[in-house]
Symmetry: C2
Subunit: 409 residues, 2 copies
């Protein structure tokens, strides 16, 4: 199969499996400029699927850097709230949402940490109205990846530029099930397996998970009435979508005030252009009270200070060490990939969706149940082949969930 | 001076002369993908000038064509109203607006006229909230051009592709005063000359203009309390901008119900991808009652049916035949250039700005004064070296304004 065929199949999977785009539905897409060939193929598949209109916002790394190089100090507290409010209106009226990711993971690595933090904070705050439609699954949405040169050469530093890009494409196509005979059917089978895992965990109703391994002994209390999710999701508009292409995780909402112990990251976190490596933190009653990192510690500390919820957890996710992405042995410096190579937790905003009957609960009830609130949601990896996980039952007993990074259930 | 220097100067003129961008001001830019190098330079000059944020929307001809090729019939009545409402909010909060033009003038030439018309109508309607901030000069705004390959090869069909692009760039740089010693100073001198013309015409207070030439004997009544404009304008936010780079015209608002006679176009009109050539129309009491064209007549008829005001005039503009753009002898197939080569009129929406004291008049008063209302505003050229224009005074006398296409005042 040649490259063009695979790229076209990825576009088809994005529209059919990722979005499940419905005839007559509008599509709002964001894409890095370099991903233009994929964005164009997605646009074509979307119109074939009956899209009423495809609107794409292209992001330009050069413009982002120009701002950091030349922008006035005051400018870093500005964000296009009017644009995000517009997007929120589109989602409120039923538009689907697709993001093409593939940014340069180290784009802002050399920039002033305070400006990076302020710009991110302003953007996150302005983005809330749009984000809420997404995280609450009012609409069908998805993320797919594009192998940009900057990303590829970071993942494969010893390869030539063109080889690095092709190697990364191969990894993306494999993880996205594009090279299987019928990718859309392969995704249906994969979704069925993930649904079995989440059903098992939902039936168990553990009160907490205990993670143990090198540098880690962490008890993550689960939210009251938590619900496990994974694979395809039915959005509130009735459309079934796969929010992440690829995905290997099942995940739920931890209790924001019931996390205790210490934990060490097992993969680097690439956050808005900065690499944060060897994170080591200690939780007390849900909150991080000590945090260190070998690189990027300053950015990590800024992240934790974003708001009250930034130092608490909003997600816990289980991924077997044998997942294809983990087995590829590739460190992607990209959350969409690395989070599917290992169990992980996320700082910040919880998914309401992972609380049973969330549509009929008030904000106060959701928070009372343990759902964390923050402007941020940042996944970081704590799983490996050396991690054991126990489920803690309501009566205080324990049950093996994972051993040596593999499912024990 | 090398090409990169000229392109950088064009970006500087766009920000300093075109927009007069103020420190702390947000900038909203629209640009065809191919104009990326110019958009990036403008972004840099905007941040240097103190922009708080530059947000650029890139348009993609390929996506537009995919819609016409694959989109469902119903899709052509859809437009991103949510995006234009967002832009309107940005302008309402003080953002400046820059458009880079340079689209393929014949992009939609082969498409179904009904779909083209419906898509344009839906877009024009949705765009109204944003457009109103622009046409009423609530904000500083400007348009500059980029020599796209499709546009250049249309203008210079006998040149090689790369030669055509360089010839068009040369024409753009010349018309935009980029190759003068100090382009920003050259624009200041040019603005002073245009201001002298408009002051003269404002002092005359003609009730009508009569155009005579081959195939043309047209009396264009001017709106009550009309005001001539041209060159730089002070927007209501207090910032002086040059809305068009280049510009050679002085213009005002005709009376929507006082235009009589017949007129022939002197240059082709490139409208949303269709070329409309040799237009010939007859007006009665302000309205076009007969319209023909050698090519594109079907599209012209659809345009005239857009709404009640589409067959009436919203602008009349005077440009001497000796203007540099006219003297270049180039037919640009682009309104921004061709309208500056010849006297012209526009179908559709009038500029409130060209009615004295418009801010303190009600919509009913503006319409009563003669301001036309429509979703469209389409300039077309009626001037040439063979056109004579008389000013008609309140008492019915006449006075020469132009003879043989040149100022007679």
């Amino acid at each position: 199969m040649d490259f063009e065929t695979k790229l076209d199949r990825l576009a088809e999977v994005a529209v059919k499996t990722g979005l499940g785009l419905a005839p007559g539905q509008e599509l709002v897409m964001t894409a890095p400029l370099e991903s233009l060939p994929l964005a164009r193929l997605i646009t074509r598949h979307a119109y074939k699927a009956g899209a009423s209109l495809v609107t794409t916002f292209y992001g330009d790394d050069d413009a982002t850097l120009a701002r950091f190089e030349l922008g006035s100090n005051e400018s870093f507290d500005t964000a296009p709230a009017w644009l995000f409010e517009g997007m929120a209106k589109a989602y409120g009226a039923g538009a689907a949402r697709l993001a093409i990711s593939g940014e340069n993971p180290a784009l802002l690595a050399g920039q002033d940490a305070d400006k990076v933090s302020r710009a991110n904070r302003a953007r996150s705050k302005a983005y809330q109205p749009a984000l809420q439609h997404i995280v609450d699954f009012h609409i069908n949405w998805s993320i797919v990846s594009f192998a940009s040169t900057a990303w590829a050469t970071m993942v494969f530093p010893d390869a030539t530029e063109s080889d690095a890009v092709m190697k990364l494409w191969d990894a993306i196509f494999a993880a996205s099930r594009i090279d299987q005979a019928d990718p859309v059917a392969a995704w249906a089978a994969h979704n069925a397996r993930l649904h079995d895992r989440k059903t098992f965990l939902n039936d168990k109703r553990f009160s907490a998970l205990r993670f143990r391994g090198p540098g880690t002994d962490l008890t993550v209390g689960l939210a009251d009435a938590h619900e496990w999710a994974g694979g395809s999701e039915k959005a509130r508009n009735g459309i079934t979508c796969n929010p992440n292409i690829p995905t290997e995780e099942v995940f739920t909402t931890p209790h924001a005030r019931r996390v205790d112990g210490f934990v060490r990251s097992t993969k680097p976190l690439s956050y808005q252009g900065t690499l944060i490596e060897d994170i080591s933190v200690r939780f007390e009653a849900g909150k991080i009270v000590e945090a260190k990192a070998r690189t990027g510690e300053e950015v990590l500390q800024k992240v934790l200070e974003t708001d009250e919820g930034a130092a608490r957890l909003g997600e816990v996710a289980l991924v077997p060490h044998s997942s294809p992405i983990s087995q590829s042995g590739i460190l992607f410096y990209n959350t969409l990939y690395d989070e599917n190579a290992a169990c992980h937790i996320a700082l910040g905003q919880a998914y309401n969706k992972c609380i049973i009957d969330f549509e009929n609960k008030t904000e106060a009830q959701l928070v009372e149940a343990g759902a964390n609130r923050s402007l941020i949601h940042i996944d970081w990896m704590i799983g490996s082949g050396e991690i054991d996980i126990d489920g803690v039952t309501a009566s205080g007993g324990t049950e093996a969930v994972m051993r040596g990074g593999e499912w024990a259930i």
